[in-house]
């Protein structure tokens, strides 16, 4: 596995990085971390920057050198004494998303929020499923042009430290999208998304119930 010393600064990791999107400062990117460490910084020196990371894992998939960037960042968190609050409670709803009821009850008026971290950790296996689901139902999804999931950031260490502006992120998430309902995989996203968007937000598990009610 390649390490941060292999980063040559191509900037591809910036493209789907929610932290960089908000800060527009290369220090706040996996590349910025790697380059800082290549030039003598310790994790403690860049603790502020490290703590802004959502650990969504998109950078791992975009890095042409296949550097374990989230591994590097996790090690940095540990060294800098940061606690990964977001790691503890993310349920993996992928199996649920494969249920036939989900496909039946999703429609063009829905905005489906994939949980970014679980998606990116199994990207190769899951992208086809979500792509098929999107095409079959006409719903929109929180995918960017790279087909990475745009995370909400809700419940992250970064947002709890005030390093990540959730409102700004959700505004970006919904910009230009037309929908009447939001479906989330991560229950932690539910209440804040409802509050900011003013739309009904349901968890994936509720879709099956909705389908039964409709029937």
């Amino acid at each position: 596995m390649k390490s941060f010393s292999d980063c040559y600064g191509c900037s591809l990791c910036l493209l789907s990085c929610p932290m960089w999107q908000q800060k527009r400062d290369v220090r706040f990117s996996a590349q910025g971390f790697a380059k800082s460490m290549q030039h003598g910084s310790t994790a403690t020196d860049i603790a502020e920057e490290l703590s802004a990371c959502l650990m969504c894992g998109a950078c791992d998939l975009l890095c042409p050198e296949k550097i374990d960037l989230t591994g590097m960042i996790a090690a940095g968190w540990q060294e800098a004494g940061l606690t990964d609050v977001s790691h503890t409670s993310v349920p993996d709803s992928f199996a649920l998303s494969c249920e036939p009821e989900v496909k039946e009850s999703l429609g063009p008026d829905d905005f489906y929020i994939i949980d970014a971290r679980t998606f990116h950790s199994q990207y190769a296996r899951r992208i086809k499923h979500y792509d098929a689901l999107r095409h079959a139902t006409g719903c929109s999804m929180n995918l960017d042009l790279n087909r990475m999931a745009i995370p909400t950031g809700i419940g992250s260490l970064s947002s709890s430290l005030g390093q990540f502006d959730l409102k700004k992120q959700i505004e970006w998430l919904i910009q230009g999208r037309t929908f009447n309902r939001i479906v989330v995989e991560n229950p932690a996203d539910q209440s804040m998304l409802a509050e900011i968007t003013g739309k009904p937000v349901i968890h994936l598990s509720e879709l099956a119930e909705v389908t039964v009610e409709h029937a």
């Binding site: 220090r27 003598g40 792509d131």
Partner: protein, 532 residues
């Protein structure tokens, strides 16, 4: 580094007394060599300059961890460290920076995506201004089909934001991390440039900070002389802080590939289909001169039959004239050709492997729908990075008029063959605008080009081999020497290749621009050593 100066005349050569060669591990020790990187600026008046910025509330990062981010560019061959880094915030901040830089004669190197290959965005001392700090889209005019954006934005992010409104840029480099400002300064070539022209020609108006710190809006109608110099001006006459660009409605596209084993046939066919304006996208991509692909594509507008009609007309009228083959027929011909040449089986295996790796990446399922490519921005750019990107890249090129293009490509190809077993060529046409001829002076657009200019990039594929910097530089020189003989221009003529500017474009035009530069930038601090 001139080692002669380090050795006393009478001294026996003493290896241990020689300075360490910072350039290449295999450089011949003790042999004087030409310095290709500019000399590092030594930091005169730097403390006073920094103090002046601090008093104005401008943050300048001097820690090695910050400056180290910018140690090289996409080429990975030029290395230099700035004394300090400023992250661009707004035009006023940049104006204040430039005024202080003029006063204290501190060089300022402007960097967007850092996708230069000749060290043009590497600071050899002085300030590095990171424009990605100014990378927000400001306003979309859906009626006029224009977008106003900060110039540090990557084309990828511009596309990402425009797509939310079903819009797209017109043409942009096949690279995700090129910045709008950097591209407008050099050209920007896409596979639809034969239809839409280069990216620089999409600019309607610009906000520019001049080298002396004035903030000026310019366009074809307002401050047009400045506009002329900024567009394709290689960053010599100002810093683009905002740009208004023409845009269009988003369309997926349908691709067609034609395969050739003759370079000249492929190039002639490219010229023919461009001249007939018969398609929306065209270009040539090769694996050496063995597998040559002519790429043709059409915009497919939903609800409109226009794309379909053009495509059908192309298939009816142009395809029969093309000398390329379909994939199966070409594969059979290639197999037959290699079967009788066992000494070329290694090359055949390489081609086979590249095909297996590359083709799926040119049509990934999740970027395709119903045979149409949804996200060309991403598909092409990721393929470029994955299959052609490397830690050190040299991509010399020749930019010619229509008449010289076949010869330029063939001669450049011969140079590639001489230096590398594996390499690739990328050829594309650029539609020129009559009303922008003044923009093209001292640029990659050759002065003798008519309606189209053509560019060919020659890029070695290292395939795990290590090549010395000297080899790579010699290769570039030999390609550029072809250009001198044929009187072409070059896309990458700045930085380490700037020695070719006078030879290629002549003293008269260079002197004219030098005088303009001296007037605009009295301390000659902005993007020093890129051109002048």
């Amino acid at each position: 580094m001139n080692t002669e100066q380090s050795l006393p005349d009478t001294a026996e050569p003493n290896i241990s007394s020689l300075p360490i060669d910072p350039v290449a591990a295999d450089a011949l020790i003790g042999i004087p060599r030409q310095q290709t990187n500019p000399k590092r600026w030594q930091g005169e008046q730097w403390p006073e300059f920094v103090e002046s910025l601090k008093q104005q509330g401008i943050e300048i990062r001097q820690h090695r961890a910050a400056t180290g981010n910018y140690v090289t560019d996409a080429g990975g061959l030029a290395h230099g460290m700035p004394h300090g880094v400023v992250i661009a915030k707004d035009a006023e901040q940049i104006a204040a920076l430039m005024k202080a830089a003029q006063k204290f004669a501190v060089p300022v190197t402007v960097r967007g995506g850092g996708l230069t290959t000749e060290g043009e965005s590497v600071a050899f001392g002085g300030v590095l201004l990171d424009m990605t700090g100014m990378s927000h889209l400001l306003h979309i005019d859906k009626h006029a089909l224009t977008v106003r954006t900060q110039a540090g934005i990557f084309w990828h992010h511009l596309a990402e934001t425009l797509r939310r409104d079903d819009l797209d840029y017109l043409s942009a480099p096949l690279n995700l991390t090129s910045s709008v400002g950097g591209t407008l300064g050099v050209g920007g070539i896409d596979v639809n440039s034969s239809k839409h022209g280069c990216s620089a020609d999409q600019a309607v108006s610009l906000q520019v900070v001049t080298p002396t710190g004035e903030i000026i809006e310019c366009s074809d109608d307002e401050n047009s002389e400045l506009f002329e110099r900024i567009i394709l001006g290689y960053g010599q006459f100002g810093i683009i802080t905002e740009a208004t660009l023409r845009i269009r409605h988003y369309t997926p596209l349908r691709m067609h590939y034609f395969y050739y084993s003759s370079l000249s046939h492929a190039v002639e066919d490219l010229l023919m289909i461009d001249a007939a304006k018969s398609c929306d996208y065209s270009g040539i991509l090769t694996m050496m001169d063995s597998a040559i692909t002519l790429l043709v594509a059409f915009d497919c507008q939903d609800g409109s039959s226009d794309g379909g009609e053009r495509e059908a007309a192309f298939m009816r009228n142009m395809k029969p004239k093309l000398r390329g083959y379909g994939e199966l027929m070409f594969g059979l011909r290639l197999t037959a050709r290699f079967a009788w040449r066992p000494w070329k089986w290694r090359e055949a295996l390489f081609l086979l492997r590249r095909k297996r790796e590359l083709f799926p990446d040119l049509q990934p399922d999740h970027h395709m729908q119903g045979g149409k490519m949804l996200d060309r921005t991403v598909v092409f750019s990721r393929a470029v990075w994955k299959h052609w990107g490397d830690r050190s890249m040299v991509i010399p090129d020749l930019a010619t008029n229509t008449e010289k293009f076949v010869e330029a490509v063939e001669r450049g190809n011969a140079v590639c063959r001489k230096y590398f077993p594996y390499y690739t060529l990328y050829c594309v046409g650029i539609r020129l605008r009559d009303d922008h001829k003044a923009h093209y002076e001292l640029s990659s657009i050759p002065p003798d080009a008519g309606d189209w200019a053509y560019g060919c990039e020659f890029e070695p594929m290292y395939n795990g081999e290590e090549y010395s910097r000297d080899t790579l530089q010699s290769f570039k020189n030999e390609i550029y020497d072809v250009g001198v003989e044929l009187e072409t221009s070059y896309y990458r003529f700045g930085g380490m290749m700037k020695g070719y500017i006078r030879r290629a474009l002549g003293d008269e035009v260079v002197e004219k621009h030098l005088k303009l530069k001296q007037q605009a930038d009295p301390a000659m601090i902005l993007n020093r050593d890129v051109i002048f």
